[in-house]
Structure formats: structure tokens, C-alpha cells
Symmetry: C2
Subunit: 140 residues, 2 copies
């Protein structure tokens, strides 16, 4: 992946010996984590909370943008369950619920930093690539 960095892999997928995860259970868990973390809404919420610190439910929604309440609720709860965000309910009327990143959530946000930088740095090339693909495909 990252040039010049030796990655402590837990996989040992070597073609000559066939697929051979060192620990199947661990393999499945890491895959599961990636499956949840590599999610559009998770990333966007992570970014919002990373940038703004503590936010209320509807504030998160506003920062994220086009998210539906359902996905906001669902994703936030999943992130809470995984220990990425902390949810604090203030028992007042009207209700007041604060969301913020845990220390672990903060480190994940930091890990995603390079991906955001990549997206910002490459959007022009991606657009060009899409256009080229479109006419290459449409011109058939």
C-alpha cells in the first residue's frame, strides 16, 4: 500500500498456497470493521464531528448535508456501538442530545485524513477520466 512502509499484515494471502488467512475469525472481524467504516455516511459524520467537536443531532445532519434522519440515526448508533462516538442525552424539554468523537473515533478521523486530501487533490483528474470514459463508451 504505502510505499516504503512495511505493513504488519495479519493476512497471508499467497497465491502459491491459496487463500490462507492466518486467523479466520480475525480476518472476518477486520473485514467487518472495514465494511462498516468504509461507508459514505460514516465517513461524512466522522468528518463533521472531527471538524466541529461536539454537535447536536440535527447539527450533525446539517453539517453532513443530504443525509436522511433514518440513516443519521442508524449510522450514529452504529458508530456509538463501535465506540467511535459518544452520545450524551440531556433530559430536558425540548430534548437535547450531544454527539462527539471518542478518542478512538478521533484516531479513525485522522486515518481518513489522507483520503480526504486525495479526493481534493484528484477531483479534476477523476472528472477528466469520467468524461474520457463516457465518450470512449458512447462513441463505440
Amino acid at each position: 500500500m504505502k510505499p516504503g512502509v512495511s505493513i504488519p499484515k495479519i493476512y497471508d494471502w499467497d497465491d502459491r498456497k491459496g487463500p490462507k488467512p492466518v486467523d479466520p475469525a480475525l480476518d472476518g472481524l477486520v473485514r467487518d470493521i472495514i465494511g462498516k467504516v468504509a461507508d459514505k455516511w460514516t465517513m461524512l459524520i466522522l468528518e463533521a464531528l472531527s471538524d466541529h467537536g461536539t454537535l447536536r443531532f440535527s447539527e450533525v445532519g446539517r453539517k453532513v448535508g443530504d443525509i436522511s434522519q433514518k440513516m443519521l440515526t442508524k449510522t450514529l448508533r452504529q458508530m456509538e456501538e463501535d465506540g467511535l462516538v459518544q452520545r450524551v442525552v440531556h433530559p430536558v424539554i425540548p430534548p437535547h442530545v450531544d454527539y462527539s468523537l471518542t478518542e478512538m473515533g478521533g484516531t479513525l478521523g485522522a486515518a481518513f485524513c489522507d483520503v480526504w486530501l486525495w479526493a481534493e487533490a484528484h477531483h479534476a483528474r477523476i472528472e477528466a477520466s469520467r468524461k474520457a470514459f463516457a465518450e470512449r463508451n458512447g462513441a463505440a
Copy 2:
């Protein structure tokens, strides 16, 4: 996001002035990119090609694991359209199609490196967090 690093943000989400992207079109494009890149299968395929270089269609599927042919085709094509992978068809019988990362795809793989390391480093804490959440919730 990353402590000590000044990020060249294109957003200017400042609460005091309301949501105010510097360039709405650019904002939408970056969001779109994140939406596609922050996808389970995209990440897994990226990782597979990043680790193994050039792979055939079914080899990619095998390395990724549980992916269906449909999602494999779809994701691969999306990645090709975005300029992340290069698709080479050898007109032979039986068919032979090679997939590999473009230079841009390689840099994205590198950007995701930290996320993989994070997942590998935190799976234990996540499991613990889920268990705690479960009994906290189930004990109600």
C-alpha cells in the same frame, strides 16, 4: 483531522455564517468522490489490486472474498470510469481480462493505508465496545 497538519480545506463551514461552501460545484464533486470511494467493495478491491498487482477478473473476486460477480463487475467498472483501475481485454478463448491499478488508483490505495492499519490496531477495542454496548442496552 490530523493534528499538526494544516489541511487546505475547500469548505468553509463556519457556524456563525451558516453553511457556505467556497465552491458549491466543487463541494458536490468531492462529496460524490467520497461517496464512491467510501465503499466497502471499492476499498477491498483496491486493497486486492494494491497487494497483487495485475489480476484477472475471477482472481480479484477470489482475493476480495465474498463479493458477488454482479458487484465485482459493477465496482470494477465504476473504478475504471473514475480512472482508478485499468482494464485490459485479451481477445482470446477462453476470455482473459486483466485488471490493475492506475497510478491514481495506487495513490488512493496508499491514502487508505492508515485506515487499514487503524482497523487492524483497533479491532479488539471495537469488539469490547460492542459487547459493552450490548449488555448496557440489553440490561435496560
